[in-house]
Amino acid sequence: MTRMLSKTVVALAAGILLPGLAFAQEVSQERIVKGLGKLTAAAPAIDVEILRQEAISGGDKPMSALPNWKRIAKLPQMVLEINFENDSVAIQPKSYRTLGLLADALHHPNLWDYKFLVIGHSSATGDEKHNLELSEQRAVAIKEALSTTFAVDPQRLYAVGVGEHLPIEGTDANASNNRRVQLINLGVFTKKS
């Protein structure tokens, strides 16, 4: 297969957006559990729609420059990579494992009390509106796969696509590693009745 495959990276939010955020490093369930479990203070309440709007109107400003995003930018996070078929929400079979590792981690007692924001990103190449839609659909696809195939309670997961907005700091906005899906620990999950 020689055609271009679009790449998406899943970032799991843990700690600070470190400049040294390691992409596509060796992932393991243990690593995800450790990375995401280190919530040391109460997470702020968030409104997904406000975050979406703020990201879109924020242009190419980084997360730390937007007031609502800034509030969650320091929550636990780490980076994983998930590959999608080109221009599609279908996750490539070779990335099933990464999603499975994420599912294993979310089912671990150290993490099962927490809820997470799944953020879809795209690179800055191509049509802005299309990028925005595709990133949203991919974030939703990840949430759906986690909550159906892997039985993660869907109420623990929020999905939002920000397209080419909110580029990762310290990376090239056009680089493929900027097409990513990010997960942020949003704090303790209390079941809605």
């Binding site: 929400v89 996750i91 494992r97 590792l101 150290n110 009390d113 039985a151």
Partner: protein
């Protein structure tokens, strides 16, 4: 009710072990879907183009195209989803199954992660059912 469920689960596990379809130890979600990708990846990309892992779409698609699916994939498919189901069941029933052991061996410990760590550490004193659930849940 719980006891009956456990019995059913035990019988199910025993029969699975006997038929040799899956081992007593469940696969992690990661290992299960890695097997799916390894054995069915080519079939998925050929027969289920654009479909995603969520909502049983891949499993359904492979079943609907059973005639065209490779034998290796066919034999893995049931094992993979059986293991995922078994692990889900173990994770969902853990708190109930291990309740007694929690209050007997790990009382006073706060936090789900620490309670689990305690049960794992005291494996020898923990009931067989609870140990089995922890193993099947993949938390050892």
């Amino acid at each position: 009710m719980l006891k009956r469920n456990l019995l059913v689960a035990a019988v199910l596990v025993a029969s699975l072990v006997h038929t040799g379809e899956v081992s007593a130890q469940t696969l992690s979600y990661a290992d299960a879907v890695t097997k799916l990708a390894d054995d069915c990846g080519a079939d998925i990309q050929k027969l289920c183009k654009g479909l995603n892992l969520g909502g049983r779409r891949i499993a359904d698609c492979l079943q609907q195209n059973a005639a065209k699916v490779s034998p290796t994939c066919k034999s893995s498919l049931s094992a993979v989803f059986q293991s995922i189901g078994q692990r889900e069941h173990a994770q969902a029933s853990y708190e109930q199954v291990c309740q007694r052991d929690m209050s007997k061996s790990c009382s006073g410990i706060k936090g789900d992660g620490f309670v689990l760590a305690c049960l794992v550490k005291k494996e020898k004193r923990v009931s067989e059912e609870c140990n089995q659930v922890i193993t099947d849940a993949g938390w050892r």
